[in-house]
C-alpha cells in the first residue's frame, strides 16, 4: 500500500463552513490519504469530525487517527507569546498542526508538547 500525504495550508479551508471542512477531511481520509493542515480545528469541529467518521465506519474503513497540536501547546513551550497568538487568531490564523489519517494505516500517534509522532504501517 502506498502512503500519500497532503499538506494543506489553513487558508485553503479557512473559509469553509465547519460541515464542509469536516466533509473535506473525511472524504480525503476515506481515499486513504493522510492530511496535514497548518492550523487548528475548533473543539466543536473535532467533535463533528468524530461524528462524521462514526457515520462512515465500515468493515474496510474503521475510522481515523486524529491529532492536533494547538497554538496553546506552542505557547507552553515558548514559541509564541500570548499577545502574538491573540493577534494571529483575531486575523483568522489558527496556529498549530492537525494530522488526520486512516486508522487502518496509522497505527499509533504519540504526542508530547511540541511534537507529534506517527507510526504508519503499509502492507
Amino acid at each position: 500500500m502506498k502512503l500519500e500525504v497532503d499538506l494543506i495550508p489553513f487558508s485553503n479551508i479557512s473559509n469553509m463552513t465547519p460541515e464542509a471542512k469536516v466533509k473535506f477531511l473525511v472524504d480525503k481520509v476515506q481515499e486513504g490519504k493522510v492530511i496535514v493542515i497548518e492550523g487548528t480545528l475548533e473543539p466543536e469541529e473535532e467533535a463533528m469530525l468524530i461524528e462524521s467518521t462514526m457515520k462512515a465506519v465500515t468493515d474496510d474503513f474503521p475510522g481515523i487517527e486524529l491529532c492536533t497540536l494547538s497554538g496553546d501547546e506552542y505557547r507552553r513551550i515558548g514559541i509564541l507569546n500570548g499577545l502574538r497568538d491573540r493577534l494571529l487568531k483575531t486575523l483568522g490564523h489558527r496556529k498549530g498542526i492537525v494530522v488526520v489519517g486512516p486508522a487502518a494505516l496509522i497505527k499509533e500517534v504519540k504526542r508530547s508538547p511540541g511534537i507529534l509522532s506517527m507510526h504508519v504501517e503499509t502492507e
Binding site: 473543539p43 461524528e51 462514526m54 465506519v57 468493515d59
Partner: protein, 209 residues
C-alpha cells in the same frame, strides 16, 4: 469559597431548595466509566447501572439513572446520572474478535459502538456538569481527552477530571494534572472505593458553582 457560592449555599440552606443536576460521565473506552457509575448509584441509591467488561465498548448506549435523591448533610440534590459510551475515533470489528467474539458478533458490536459514540457526543449539549474519567495507568495526553475537554470548555460546562485506577501499581495520577494544567483533578479507584468521599465532596462543590 467564593462570595457567589457562599450566597448560593446560604440561599439553599435557608429555603431547603433542591438542586437538580444532569451529571454526565465521559471518557475514552475502558477507563472505568461504568465502574464509577455503579459505585455512585450503589452508594447513593443502591443498585447498579450497567455491566462492565474488559472488552472495549461494553457500554454501547446511554445509561441513565434519573432523579437520585442525594444529600451532603446540608443540601438536597436530585441527580440524573448519565453514563455514556466511550468516545473513540475508530471502531474496528477485528479488535473485538481478539477477545473471542465471532465475526458476526464483532460486527454487530462495532455497529452499536459507532452509534454509541454518536449518542455520547449528542448528549454533551444536554448536561449541567461532567466527570471526565481517565485511566491513570496510561498516557492521558490523548486526542480523545483533549477533544472532550475542549468541547466541555467551549460549552462552559463545569468539569471535574477523575484520575481512576489509583489502586494499580503503575498508576500515575500526577501525569494527568501535568497534561491538563488548570483543570480540577481528583484521584480515585472506582473499583476499590479509594478516595471516593473526596470525589463526592468535589461533585457537590462542582454542581453548586
Amino acid at each position: 469559597m467564593g462570595i457567589r457560592k457562599s450566597f448560593k449555599l446560604a440561599f439553599y440552606r435557608l429555603f431547603k431548595r433542591r438542586i437538580d443536576v444532569k451529571l454526565g460521565i465521559y471518557g475514552p473506552t475502558n477507563v472505568g466509566k461504568t465502574t464509577l457509575a455503579n459505585r455512585l448509584t450503589e452508594d447513593w441509591v443502591g443498585g447498579k447501572m450497567g455491566n462492565i467488561s474488559e472488552i472495549p465498548h461494553e457500554t454501547r448506549e446511554i445509561l441513565k439513572m434519573e432523579r437520585m435523591q442525594v444529600s451532603d448533610g446540608w443540601k438536597r440534590f436530585s441527580i440524573d446520572l448519565i453514563d455514556t459510551p466511550g468516545i473513540e475515533t475508530k471502531v474496528d470489528f477485528r479488535e473485538f474478535m481478539k477477545y473471542g467474539l465471532s465475526e458476526t458478533e464483532a460486527k454487530r458490536r462495532a455497529k452499536q459502538a459507532t452509534q454509541g459514540v454518536l449518542d455520547s457526543i449528542k448528549w454533551l449539549a444536554k448536561l449541567d456538569a461532567v466527570l471526565v474519567i481517565m485511566d491513570s495507568t496510561v498516557d492521558p495526553y490523548t486526542q480523545v481527552n483533549i477533544t472532550i475537554l475542549g468541547n466541555l470548555k467551549a460549552r462552559n460546562i463545569p468539569t471535574l477530571i477523575v484520575a481512576n485506577k489509583i489502586d494499580l501499581p503503575n498508576s500515575r495520577p500526577d501525569k494527568i494534572g501535568q497534561a491538563f494544567p488548570g483543570s480540577d483533578v481528583v484521584s480515585i479507584s472506582a473499583k476499590e472505593g479509594d478516595n471516593i468521599n473526596e470525589l463526592y465532596e468535589r461533585i457537590f462543590d462542582m454542581v453548586m458553582e
